[in-house]
Every structure is written in C-alpha cells, then in structure tokens.
C-alpha cells in the first residue's frame, strides 16, 4: 500500500481511557528501502542471558538480608529492626542471617544453600571512596568506574560494542533482534557505548507496527549540530520500526505460570516470552535485559515501602524462575539453565535509622539467581560494631568487602557467564577493556579483577594484566574458608622463580609460603592459616610468565 493511501484512508480508532495511544492498530509499515547489509549481530558463542534488575533508590541491605542475631543490629534499628514474623526462617546453611519476610519466594530458590541453591547472596558489595548521591552513585554502577573517574559509557554497552564492533550497521537488517532490551522510557547509560545506544527501550512488547514516513533527503556532509540530531532521530525511528517488526513477527511463546500483577512481574513475564521465543528461533539473539524497580529511597516510612517492594521483587523473580523452568528445553537448549539474574542498587543505606527510615549509605548485599549459580552466602556478615562503623571510609557506614568490589561482580558475570565459550585470554582481555581501560578511556586504575566462582561453569580464573600466561594456573584453596591448614594447588607452565604470597584485603603481604625456583607442572603447598585473623585474604602467584591472584577466606 502506498503511503498516500494509508494516510488518506485514515483509521478510526477506539481509545480506552486506560490504554490510550498504544491501542492504535493497523498502521502499515513502509520499508526504508535501504539495501540490507551483513548482519553484525548474534556472534555470541553461548546461549547465556543475563537479566539485570536495578533496585532504584538505594535498597536497604540490612533489612533485606538481615543479620538478625547481631545485637548491634537491633540497637541501631530500634524501630526498623526486623525480628520474628518480619523475617523468613534463617538461611539453612547460614543461621546468622534471615531474609525480609516478603522474600519467601527468593528463600525458596535459595533452597539449602551450601553451593547447591539457586541464589548467590554476595555480602557487602561496594567500592572504594563510596559516593552517597543517587545519581552519581547510579552512574558509577552503570559506567563501572572508580568513584573519581567519569565515563559516559556503560559496562554492558562497552562489552556489547566489543562483541559487535560494527554496531550500529549502516542499515539495520530486517528481522534483527536488539542486542539488549530495557523496559522503560529512557535508555540507561548502562547500555551506552561510544558509538551510541547498544540496546533499545520498550515500554512493553509492541502490538502494532510503527509507521514510517517519507524518503529522506541525505544528511549533509560535515553536518552541523542540528543535522547530527536529525540523524539521531532518524536512527531511533529506524530502530523502532525494525525491532518492532521483529518482535511482532516472532511467534511469542506463552508464559507457563501466572505472574503477580506488579509492573516488575509483568516485565519479567514479557522477558520470559522473549527469551523462550528467541530460543525457538536462532538461539537467544538478545542476551541482556534491564528492568528497574523502585523507589527504594526509604528516608521515611521504610517498613511499609520496602516490604511492598521486596515482596514484589521476590514474587516476580520466583514466578519468572518457575516460568523459565517450565519451558524446559527448546531446540535442545534448556531455558532455565541459560538465564541468570543480577540485582544492583546505587548504594545500601545507613545502619543507624533516622526514626522512620534510613539515609543514604554504602555497601549492601546483592543477588545472582539462576539454576547455574552455586547458591549460598558469599562473604562475611556486615560489621555493625561501633568501632567498625566509626572507622569506615564514610563514618557510620558499612565497609565493603574488597573481594566484592562491584566490578568483580561484573567480571564474574562476564568471565563465568556472558563470555563463556571464547578462549580465556580473549575473555581476560575483554574484561580488562570493559573494566580497566580501552582505547578511549581509563575506567579504573585497577587491573586485577577477580572472578568469584559464583557460577557452575567454574571459570574462576584470575583476570589480570597478563592474559597470555596460558598454562599458568592457580586453583582454589581447600578447605575454604580455612581455619587451620589449607592446600593451594597451582600449575606452572615453565620452570623458573616462583613467589606465592598471602595478602590482606588491604594489600599487605602477611606470609610468603613459596619463594624459590620450581619446575614446570603441577605443584601445591600446604599453608597454615591458624595464625591469621578472620577475614578475606588473597594469595598471589608470581612467575616469570605472569601473575595470578585468588581470594581465600579465613574463619576460625
């Protein structure tokens, strides 16, 4: 149909008060008429999908994963402190913690923990020199920088651009899936790369095609500002049209379970449909999803507000997980085994309440959820004693676990989930380019990121500055946590001088069990941790071909 006809015919459209323009139907699509180019999408070598759930406003971690047995908790929280029926039963494998009572669904996914559950709880996630502003804090988490470094691109955007360096193509091929989908109105900087947005936003799954207009005159060479903006609008129009059509054309798989009615649940339900529909076609063309929930900014009325939010969160996540599992295998791909969820929030909240709420704080627990997660609690309970709070970087607040720097969480997700299937040196280089430095920008002065061993893929290798040290391996110590003697196995690729040092989380070397010339091959040492104080340590293997570091927990 020619455009003129579709415009002339007009369409009488009924409008319901609660569903206005989105009810418009039947608008024909007119192709932009560009020649299709090669696809630069879908180059991933695995089917893994990550659903990122942003808890906007700063979730109060202490009233989410509750250290209810710590007497300091009750004294810091005389009115907000949760106990009794305000809590779930204690975690089966971690009796000092219980969840907020609204989180029965997540507790159920946690199961018996001990590495066998579907919920990894990472304690005290944060970063050095914490920022207590919502907006700067959100930017730090999205752009994954040191807190004094400013970047305009997001870690997901950088990773996707690394995988799809030609994106966006000169013309987006018909039938393409977006690389990433966010539910919302405005594209998060999480999805921005230097070339622009690597994902799209949707308010909901489309029910109609998008009309396109005329043939367009070309943008002038060396365009002035208004023409670069015009090109931006044309691109958004094209993306809207192409991706809308893609999503309309897929045979949408129906949800297997009834979801709760919260916005978050409705969005997760649509993501489950998209994931399953994707597997029924060509694998999972869209690997990254972002949904947001909030506001968790509970300066007042926290008891009610947070309970509502956590209840919605937990119920939505549980329904989503049940739905994924009910899909079983599609085209030989187990759906639930291909999806993981990750929560984040710009900060945790102040341990000491303000009367009816809590002000902005620092570190907080976060969740990684999925059947491929080694579910249990990672890291120690938050330190709420007066001396710890007084000595914190921001007085009165929690101190983050250096092992749980949020960039290590991202490194874990990349190393053990999103980039699985590439060779390890490529993964390491990719992670460094996302989290430390690329050709444009430095994001962190740190170049030692730690994969935390959260996923069953167990690619827990060190991500460091020497990705070429193939054959050099440092394995997890056992037992871990250590109390007395613990064994550290490692493999040397070449003979030569070897150092193996034990470091505190602050980087101070406390022991050096190995400092000698060793031959290539498998080695191990038995190290006595009984003299070390409780806490997280690192052991670092330094050889002529590279350096590898791993974490170790000492708990007496």
């Amino acid at each position: 149909m020619k455009r003129r006809e579709f415009l002339k015919n007009g369409i009488k459209i009924g409008v319901a008060a609660n569903a206005l323009p989105v009810m418009l139907g039947g608008l024909p699509v007119r192709a932009l008429g560009r020649s299709p180019l090669r696809s630069v999408l879908s180059n991933s070598t695995n089917n893994n999908v990550l659903v990122i759930i942003q808890l906007q406003g700063g979730n109060d971690g202490l009233n989410c994963v509750v250290p209810f047995t710590d007497p300091n908790y009750a004294s810091l929280r005389p009115t907000l402190g949760l106990s009794g029926t305000a809590l779930t039963s204690p975690l089966p494998d971690h009796s000092s913690l219980a969840l907020h009572a609204g989180m029965e669904g997540i507790l159920s996914l946690y199961g018996n923990g001990g590495g066998n559950g579907n919920v990894a709880i990472l304690q005290n996630v944060g970063y050095p020199n914490p920022i207590l502003s919502h907006f700067r804090g959100t930017d730090i988490w999205n752009t994954a920088t040191d807190s004094n470094i400013y970047a305009s691109t997001g870690w997901v955007g950088r990773m996707l651009f690394g995988q799809n360096p030609g994106y966006p193509p000169a013309s987006i091929p018909t039938g393409s899936w977006p690389l990433a989908i966010e539910f919302g109105s405005f594209l998060s900087n999480l999805f921005l790369a230097n070339s622009g947005g690597m994902g799209i936003t949707l308010s909901k799954l489309p029910t109609q095609a998008n009309p396109t207009g005329l043939n367009y005159d070309p943008i002038p060479a060396n365009p002035t500002t208004q023409y670069t903006e015009l090109q931006y609008v044309r691109t958004i129009q094209e993306e809207t049209q192409i991706y809308t059509q893609t999503l309309l054309d897929i045979a949408v798989k129906k949800n297997n379970v009834t979801y709760p009615t919260s916005t978050l649940a409705m969005q997760l339900a649509q993501i489950a449909q998209l994931i399953a529909s994707g597997f029924s076609q060509t694998g999972s063309p869209t690997k990254l999803y972002l949904v947001t929930q909030g506001s968790y900014d509970t300066h007042s009325n926290e008891i009610t507000t947070q309970a509502n939010l956590l209840t919605d969160l937990s119920a939505a996540v549980a329904a989503f997980q049940a739905d994924l599992e009910a899909f079983g295998a599609i085209n030989g791909i187990n759906v639930a085994d291909s999806v993981a969820m990750l929560t984040y929030s710009e900060f945790g909240r102040r341990p000491k309440e303000n009367g009816s709420g809590t002000d902005h704080g620092t570190a907080a627990p976060h969740f990684i959820i999925g059947t491929q997660v080694k579910g249990m609690v990672y890291g120690s309970d938050p330190k709420l004693d007066a001396a710890s709070l007084a000595g914190a970087e921001v007085t009165g607040n929690l101190t983050f676990d250096p092992l749980h720097d949020f960039r290590n969480v991202y490194a874990t997700v990349m190393n053990e989930w999103l980039l699985v299937g590439q060779n390890q040196s490529q993964i390491n280089a990719d992670i460094l380019s996302v989290l430390t430095q690329d050709s444009n920008t430095m994001y962190s002065t740190n170049s030692n990121w730690q994969s935390l061993g959260i996923f069953k893929t167990a690619q827990t290798q060190y991500v460091g500055s020497n990705p070429n040290a193939t054959g050099l391996m440092l394995l997890p110590n056992y037992p871990n946590p250590a109390s007395g003697r613990t064994v550290i196995p490692y493999t040397l690729d070449v003979a030569g001088p070897v150092e193996l040092g034990i470091f505190t989380s602050a980087g101070v070397e406390v022991e050096r069990p190995v400092d000698s010339w060793q031959s290539a091959g498998n080695q191990q040492i038995s190290f006595d941790a009984s003299t070390l104080a409780n806490g997280t340590y690192f052991y670092r293997l330094t050889t002529s071909s590279g350096t590898v570091t791993r974490p170790m927990v000492v708990e007496h």
């Binding site: 369409i11 206005l20 700067r136 936003t201 998008n210 207009g213 005329l214 005159d217 303000n354």
Partner: protein, 596 residues
C-alpha cells in the same frame, strides 16, 4: 510517470549530481556509501561532540545580524510550546528582536501580567479530614481525579499562553526543584507548588530557593517535615539537605573540576540546621498558600529545631535555613577555604550561579552546555543578585542563541511536542472545565459506596495522561528528584512509537469521539495569509516554515507537495482541504518535526 516516482528519481539524480558530479555510476554509489557511513558515525553519538559546531560566539555578546523570520521563529519556538502562525505574525508586528524578547519576558512583572487565577475553589481549599475506609478510598479517588485536572489545567495554560516564556520556564523549574504529585498526593499542595513555580519563573532564584525549601510539596517530597529534633534527640532526615546542594543549588563538583562542592559532613550538619519545618498544615487553612511554618516553640514543641552549633562549608554557628542558603549562595568561599581544592579567582556565588545558568542554557539553547556561555551567564546572574530575567534577556538576544547551528538542534520534550501539535495544527478541544467540585458519575449505581468521578476534560486527559505519560513526561511527576534527563533521552525507541501514534491519530481525527480532540485541515491551511490564493508550493512552504526549523530537501518537500496536490486536476491550484488532510500527518511524522 506517476508524480511521486518522478520526484524520487529527480531527487536521486540531484543527489548523485551533488555528490558525484560527472563520475561514473559506480563511483556515485561508492560516494553515497561513504556518505552514509559518515552519517552513521555521527548518528548514534550519545554524547555529542561537545559544543554546537560552527562559528559560534562563545559569550553573551548581542546578536547584530538581520532580524528575519528564521530568527523570530527560532526565539518563539524556544520559549513556547509550538508557534501557531497567528502568534508568529503578532510577534513579527512587534518589529525588533528587543521588542519581541521584552514581550516574552513581560510576565516577570506580576503587577501587569498577573498569575493565572485558580479556576476552581477546590484547588485552594483544604478539605476536612475524613474517617472510615470507604470515605478515605473515595477521597483518594477524588484526589487522583483532581490531580489529573491540575495537569489538564496546566497543559491548557501552556497552549493558551500568548507571547510569553512563563509556562516554559515553569515547566523547567518543576524539573529543577522537583517534587512528585504521586508522593505529595494532596491536589491543593500540588497546585500551590505549581503556582509557586509560576510565580518565580522569572523571579529571584535565591528567594525562589527559600520558598521552595519550605513549601509543603517539598517538605513532603523530600521528608523535610520528618527532619526534627525532639527532646534533645535527633531524628535528622538528610534527604532534603543532600538534594538541596546536589541538585537544586550547587551540584556535586565545582565547574570544570573534580573537586566536590561539599562533604557528607556538610550534608549532616545542614540537615540539623533544617530541622523543625512542618507543613503549613493540611488540616487548617495555610498561613499563606506557599509557606510552611517553623515550629517556634509556642506550639508545645520547643525542641523540634536543633539550636546547637553546626559547621557547614567551613563556617560555624547556630544555623537555620536562611543561614544555610546564605552560605550556599556565597560559594566558593576562600577564607575559610571550603572545601579545599576549589580553584581561586571565582566571585562569591559562582558555584550556584553556574549551576542554575547551566540548567537555563540546556533548556533554552542546547542540551550540551557551552561552558564559556554558561560562565558568562553565571557572572551576569551574580551581578543581578540572582534575578533570572536579566540573564534570560541577555541569552535570548545573544549572537550565540541565533547561531545557525543552534537553530533546530534541540529535541522536543513530550510537552513541547504535544504543544506543537495542538497549536500549530490547530487541534481543538472543549474549553477547560474546572467542575467545582468534581462530580460523581450520574450513571453509577447509587447503592455503590465507592464513588466514580467523571472526568470533565477527557480531551485534555487524553493529552496529559494518554500522550505525555506514555511518552515519558507526566506533568508534575518526574521519574525522580533529578527530574527528566532530557536531551537524547526524550527520543528513544521506548517512546517514539507513542509520539508517532499521537501525531497520526490526532491529525486523522482517529481518536474516539468521546475525546473530542479534533483537527480541521481547512482551518489549518487558512492560518497562512492568503492561503486560498497561494500556489500549492507556496502554501506547503509556509506550513513547513511554521512547523520545521529545517529547510527540507527535494525528496521530503516533493513528497509533501504531492500530498498537498492530491486532487490536482487543473493547472490552476485550488485551496484543497483533502490535500491538507494528507499533508498534515505526513509533515508531523517527519523526524524534523521532533526537533526545534
């Protein structure tokens, strides 16, 4: 050959000529590809390359070029919600740039251009409390309907406004001193907040900040009313203290540096200084519609305000709100240096003046600030003791503002987009009906205890709820305290379809009859002087000039012209509503119409 086909090939050959000259076909294609590639390098750029390109004047030196239609339409578009031809002609009759800008800023003087009056008594009368579940549920439903009518009334004000910047500034301030109607809830308090923003739209920023700090809406939204000190025990709530500095007055970092303007300790101490403010009182008539009450000890709560010594930005004393604001508006101070590391040589008040000027620049010029121009604006703001009007006067008469690369470079917010549709295409709807008080639905079963209220302004609700909300800008309810992010965020895949659908539906009269938003193609065309005696090409050009800040190329203008000539049968052109009926939605669907 069909006319459209002819136009396409004509356009293509023009293009090929321009790009390839006498080169062979293959070379032309290659040139086109590389041109596309170049455009694509630019098109996704999320952070544009900094300043508008071109020979820009990087200060506030006055514009001395010719005062033509392009410049006049630019200043009107940038200060209002779309520009109907009648207002363009009225402004043209004023003659000079200075006369036009003075007219736009005349609302500064409330004695001659007073605030619009509240159309209904329920907007300013606090209702008595109700008890009982059903009564409270009905109150909640009534309040939701009333808040919807406030949005409707305000959008109507935007559309009805004559040559004036007031509603554009008001919208900007509600995106600066942000509150959220869904947190505030009380329609009366939401309305008082809107009127405060309108009152100070071109006023003194320092006074504005003071009155905003103690407005009921702000006390509710950022918990100022829960920041108190009772019986020697502090329950300081830091929410307002933080955002006052981070978002409303200072910004986190000193301009051009990574030096923080304040510390966490400054937030905690200023929170103590701000203790004690309570609502002007929901249950009683407020002392003034705009003002909160500081519990002064006479109400049996002598200790709600902390009277201890607070150290704030290097100064110490028994500070309260006025002291905190005074110290904020002194920054940077160098003795004592607070905080350390701020570069020397800046005038007192520069930090706030820069922060506010940047906001004004981003709203009225381009969303990526030009730091030199913002610097000049900040210094002018300080010279004028934070009066907004002189800075706007200077900006709207500056050479920078009229630079060719600035014109058409801003993305329309949903409100501006909807305003442009309504005003430029002449969409009509029934006059705003205040319904004092809002009425129960007469068709409702009288035995039902939960009341349904009738929306007295369905066409306006279609715009404010159905369109603006879906496009990401529900009036008086930004997503968070930082407000709508603006810039590229206004146009995203998540909202673009709603924009196009709203253009398409409204200009095809495709909404259901009950919504009574209507488009008259003939009246649309008749806005243009001598429309009935113009050629189709001249009429089309005039309508393009009204709505687009771009001069269209041959492909786009050719397609539009063929729409306008749809019933072309005679070499003598006749004014043709059928052509306009096709032309209008085609124009509104152009990406150029998203820009202004």
């Amino acid at each position: 050959m069909e006319r459209r086909t002819f136009l396409k090939s004509a356009g293509a050959s023009t293009l090929a000529g321009a790009l390839g000259g006498s080169l062979g076909v293959g070379s032309v294609v290659a040139t086109l590809k590389s041109s596309t590639a170049r455009a694509n390098q630019l098109r996704h750029s999320s952070i544009p390359a900094g300043q508008p390109r071109g020979s820009l004047s990087a200060d506030l030196s006055p514009y001395t070029g010719s005062w033509g239609d392009v410049q006049l339409r630019h200043v009107l578009r940038r200060t209002m919600f779309g520009v109907p031809e009648s207002q363009f002609l009225a402004a043209q009759a004023l003659g000079s740039m200075d006369a036009v800008v003075n007219q736009l800023l005349a609302c500064q003087d409330l004695t001659t251009v007073p605030l619009p009056t509240a159309p209904a008594s329920w907007l300013t009368t606090f209702p008595s409390e109700v008890t009982g579940t059903t009564a409270q549920m009905n109150r909640t439903r009534l309040q939701a309907m009333e808040r919807q009518q406030i949005e409707n009334w305000w959008f109507d004000q935007m559309v009805q406004e004559n040559l004036s910047i007031r509603q554009r500034l008001t919208l900007m301030w509600t995106n600066h001193f942000v509150t959220g109607s869904l947190t505030v809830l009380s329609p009366q308090i939401v309305f008082a907040y809107l009127m405060l923003s309108m009152q100070y739209a071109l006023g003194n920023f320092k006074d504005f900040a003071y009155h905003m700090s103690i407005s009921d809406a702000m006390l509710l939204y950022l918990n100022g009313n829960q920041n108190y000190y009772i019986n020697g025990k502090s329950s300081a709530n830091e929410n307002y203290a933080r955002e006052l500095m981070e978002l409303f007055t200072l910004g986190i970092l000193f301009p051009g540096t990574n030096v923080p303007n304040y510390t966490e300790t400054d937030i905690q101490n200023s929170a103590l200084a701000l203790t004690g403010w309570q609502l002007s009182n929901y249950k009683q008539p407020p002392v003034s519609p705009f003002q909160g009450i500081l519990w002064d000890g006479t109400n049996g709560n002598p200790n709600w305000h902390n009277t201890g010594t607070k150290t704030f930005l290097g100064q110490s004393g028994n500070f309260a709100l006025t002291d905190i604001l005074a110290i904020i508006f002194q920054q940077p101070t160098y003795s004592p240096a607070s905080p350390a590391g701020i570069p020397t040589g800046y005038p007192s008040g520069y930090t706030s003046a820069y922060w506010v000027s940047q906001k004004l620049y981003q709203e009225f010029v381009y969303y990526v600030p030009n730091t030199s121009v913002v610097d000049a604006m900040a210094r002018l703001l300080i010279q004028n003791n934070f009066e907004i009007a002189p800075v706007m006067q200077a900006l709207l008469t500056s050479a920078h503002f009229y630079d060719a690369s600035v014109i058409g470079a801003q993305l329309k917010s949903p409100a501006i987009f909807a305003g442009s549709l309504v005003r430029e295409f002449g969409l009509t709807y029934p006059a705003f009906n205040p319904e004092d008080p809002p009425q129960k639905d007469p068709s409702q079963d009288p035995t039902q205890v939960v009341v349904t209220y009738v929306d007295p302004n369905p066409a306006l609700s279609l715009i404010t709820y159905g369109v603006l909300n879906v496009e990401g800008q529900e009036l008086l309810n930004p997503p968070n305290v930082k407000g709508w992010p603006g810039g590229h965020n206004w146009v995203s895949t998540g909202t673009f379809q709603a924009r196009e659908a709203s253009s398409y539906a409204s200009l095809n009269n495709a909404f259901s009859k009950g919504y009574s938003l209507s488009f008259d193609p003939s009246a649309y065309g008749m806005q243009v002087p001598n429309a009935t005696s113009s050629t189709a090409a001249a009429l089309g050009q005039a309508l393009e000039n009204m709505s687009l800040a771009f001069t269209l190329g041959p492909l786009e203008s050719g397609d539009l012209l063929s729409d306008l000539e749809v019933d072309y049968k005679d070499p003598t052109y006749q004014f043709d509503p059928n052509g306009l009926k096709l032309f209008a939605p085609a124009l509104a669907l152009l990406p150029e119409f998203q820009l202004f």
